[in-house]
């Protein structure tokens, strides 16, 4: 455990938070983790440390705040989709997976010049990653609503959300190519020696793609500062991941490429953070890539809100699109019983970082922020039709070809 002590010494606020009660709680968490056998190191060059204990209270509070901001963004968006006939968004919900985005992005550099911050490549389920990286929720809501003041000016919508200023390189509607593209950014970073790290988020479905293997193989061969965060929420689109991967733990794939492959409990933000911090340190030190598999779950179906009710969390029952393999309600309930919001909240209350009143206040503020973001988005101007001819090339517009 010398690595942990060393890290503690490097953290100025470490002494302040190393209370006996937190130590005692850690033991309890470790025991619980072993009991559900979700937390384990599948294959790694040594263990990863429990870095989260060394974070100052304000950083820990920020993690909880971001988790509830994502949660209420998703819930507000689901309600919007269910109740507002004028809402035109096409959304994939991230609720249930919040701890993954927050745990990973909390270990990254998110503020500063573009040449210094860490880069994140996201998926078709991007809103949680975007918020965790620091996107402006209002402008994201406007984009999801196809407004001219949206973060992509209405050109992209949810599956192409991007904000270069925070290193959020973009959502990607395709499964696979984004991962290989992300290794290209890592390649450039290694070549110029800028000490940035590139994270790509992907789902369990990506294992089947050739891109997954191309990303890991090439990043391993070139020792790129690259972290593959595979969010295994059990389903790719509508099929269980056993349709596309012969292993229980996809992280086992890392063994093939001689890189660390780590399985973490994706519902526990501290576990995710610990694994991410280890991977980030390793990448920044020039030691190459890591594959992190976060076991998690989406509370809604693949896209849209079939089976969901206004004001209620989660979607249950039959999704007409999920003919081959739909999710039993018991499975959804079982995962919801290990909720990332509750886990983070309980940990921080047990550590004495938050009390119940403060946690409630943070959550109330997050809810208010989300409601206001969507209300703001509703009032934003629509796009001008002819602007569709812009942004094809750097310069000018292309001709309209649909007109007589």
């Amino acid at each position: 455990m010398s690595e942990r002590d060393q890290a503690s010494q490097e953290t100025p606020a470490a002494d302040a938070i190393r209370s006996p009660s937190r130590r005692a709680f850690l033991k309890g968490v470790a025991g619980a983790g072993a009991a559900v056998s979700l937390v384990k190191v599948a294959w790694a060059e040594g263990e990863f440390g429990y870095w989260a204990k060394d974070l100052p209270n304000e950083r820990l509070t920020e993690m909880f705040t971001t988790i509830v901001r994502i949660r209420w963004h998703e819930r507000t968006m689901a309600d919007k989709m269910l109740t507002d006939p004028n809402y035109r968004g096409y959304n994939h919900f991230y609720a249930g997976q919040e701890a993954v985005a927050v745990g990973v992005c909390s270990a990254l550099r998110n503020k500063g010049p573009f040449e210094e911050i860490d880069l994140v490549y996201s998926t078709h389920r991007p809103t949680g990653h975007a918020i965790a990286k620091g996107i402006d929720m209002k402008r994201m809501a406007a984009e999801n609503h196809f407004r001219a003041t949206g973060i992509n000016k209405g050109y992209g919508g949810e599956m192409h959300l991007a904000d270069k200023s925070i290193g959020f390189m973009g959502a990607d509607g395709m499964i696979g190519p984004g991962h290989v593209i992300a290794t290209g950014s890592a390649f450039a970073i290694r070549a110029r020696g800028s000490k940035q790290v590139v994270v790509v988020f992907g789902g369990d479905g990506t294992y089947a793609t050739p891109h997954f293997h191309a990303a890991l193989n090439n990043s391993a061969l070139l020792r790129l500062p690259f972290i593959y965060v595979l969010e295994n929420n059990l389903y790719h689109q509508y099929a269980h991941y056993s349709y596309s991967c012969p292993m229980k733990d996809i992280a086992d794939a890392a063994r093939t490429y001689r890189i660390p492959g780590v399985v973490v409990d994706g519902q526990d933000v501290m576990q995710v953070y610990n694994a991410a911090k280890t991977a980030v340190d390793r990448a920044r030190a020039g030691e190459g890539p890591t594959l992190i598999e976060a076991k998690t779950y989406r509370y809604y179906n693949h896209w849209g809100a079939p089976g969901a009710k206004p004001g209620e969390l989660g979607a249950f029952g039959y999704d007409p699109l999920a003919i081959s393999s739909f999710r039993p309600e018991r499975e959804v309930r079982e995962w919801m019983a290990r909720d990332p919001v509750d886990i983070c909240r309980n940990v921080l209350i047990s550590w004495g970082v938050l009390d119940r009143a403060r946690a409630d206040a943070i959550e109330a503020a997050a809810k208010k922020e989300a409601v206001e973001a969507f209300a703001w988005a509703d009032k934003q101007p629509f796009c001008k039709p002819e602007d569709g001819l812009k942004n094809v090339f750097v310069e000018g517009t292309v001709p309209a070809r649909q007109l007589a």
Binding site: F146, M159, H160, I175, P210, Y238, G388, P399, A400, A404
Partner: protein, 323 residues
């Protein structure tokens, strides 16, 4: 005879062929081969033929395309259904392998295979990657592969039967926006040729040529123009390769005016090929292309719907050409 959707019509054709040929296989992801229609039994290929012949794969369209090709080379009829988000992931296999193997092997390679490639381009808001319609141009360009794009459930069934029975690789484009279309479709198995355009209305003032997902708007425009007294010959291209030059040229020889309508990008859209063939064969005709601009489809409905050719655009272009 019953009213059937596009997918029901197609799966009815496939079900019949799979019952006749015990070696035939079907490979899919995302979209299960299941369809129902009022008053008819539910078709579920996975259930009926089992998971050895009907396979739900991971998200790997390259594998789906290559597996289909390999099955064909080994002597089995094979069909794969590739959803719209992956319809270019399989391009290499179709363009550089399926399209060339017969030629490269001096006629030895057998490829009784069908690639059902879903295209979208219908739903605003999907944006960029999920709104593309341009694959008609890409796949029609490949030698050695027949590329068709039916626009009605009845054609969808007949052309699927022909595609499965055809010994060549067939790219069978499926404009997903037409999935709501319903019409009377015969229960019996029948074939619709893979090299004939369909003349939907006859007239002598103008020839309007469309295809696939654009046809409903083209037909709407035709109705409006006919009501205003214009004699419109509207042709549903259906087959991009081989293209039915004869029907096209015969029509334009009569009308001397040709308007093509595409949801594909303007540059090299199928209509460009139609115009080129008619220009080579008809003297003194006038031509006009209406197509999606050479820009990726934007998310915002205001932009997307303005850019995608619709009945208003077709009516205006036809009037300009005739007037």
């Amino acid at each position: 005879m019953a009213r059937k959707s596009w997918m029901y019509s197609v799966l009815e054709a496939v079900q019949y062929e799979m019952r006749q040929d015990k070696n035939m296989v079907w490979i899919f992801e995302l979209t299960p081969p299941v369809a129902s229609t009022p008053g008819k039994p539910v078709i579920n290929l996975e259930k009926e033929f089992g998971r050895t012949r009907v396979v739900n794969t991971g998200i790997d369209e390259m594998w789906m395309a290559a597996c289909t090709l390999g099955a064909g080379l080994a002597g089995s009829k094979a069909v794969t259904y590739i959803p719209y988000q992956g319809n270019c992931m399989c391009f290499q296999i179709i363009q550089n392998h399926a399209g060339k193997l017969r030629h490269m092997t001096g006629g030895m390679a057998e490829m009784p295979i069908v690639y059902i490639l879903e295209m979208t381009g219908q739903t605003p808001g999907f944006a960029g990657q999920h709104s593309d319609y341009e694959i008609d141009t890409y796949y029609a360009h490949i030698p050695g592969v027949k590329t068709v794009v039916p626009s009605t459930p009845a054609d969808a069934k007949g052309m699927m039967v022909s595609a499965i029975r055809d010994p060549n690789p067939v790219v069978y484009l499926y404009p997903a926006g037409l999935r709501e279309l319903m019409e009377e479709v015969p229960d019996d198995q029948y074939q619709t040729p893979l090299d004939k355009a369909a003349v939907r209305t006859t007239g002598s003032d103008i020839t309007i040529v469309g295809s696939g997902g654009g046809m409903p708007e083209v037909l709407k425009a035709t109705d409006r123009l006919v009501k205003e007294g214009m004699k419109v010959e509207t042709i549903d291209l259906r087959c991009l390769k081989p293209m039915d030059t004869e029907t096209l040229v015969k029509s334009v020889q009569k009308t001397k005016r040709l308007l093509t309508v595409d949801q594909s990008y303007y540059t090299l859209c199928p209509g460009a090929e139609v115009i080129a063939r008619c220009a080579e064969n008809v003297d003194g005709a006038r031509f006009k292309r209406v197509a999606f601009p050479d820009a990726p489809p934007p998310a915002a409905p205001e932009m997307f719907l303005w850019m995608r050719p619709n009945a208003d655009h077709v009516v205006a272009a036809a009037k300009k050409l005739v007037g």
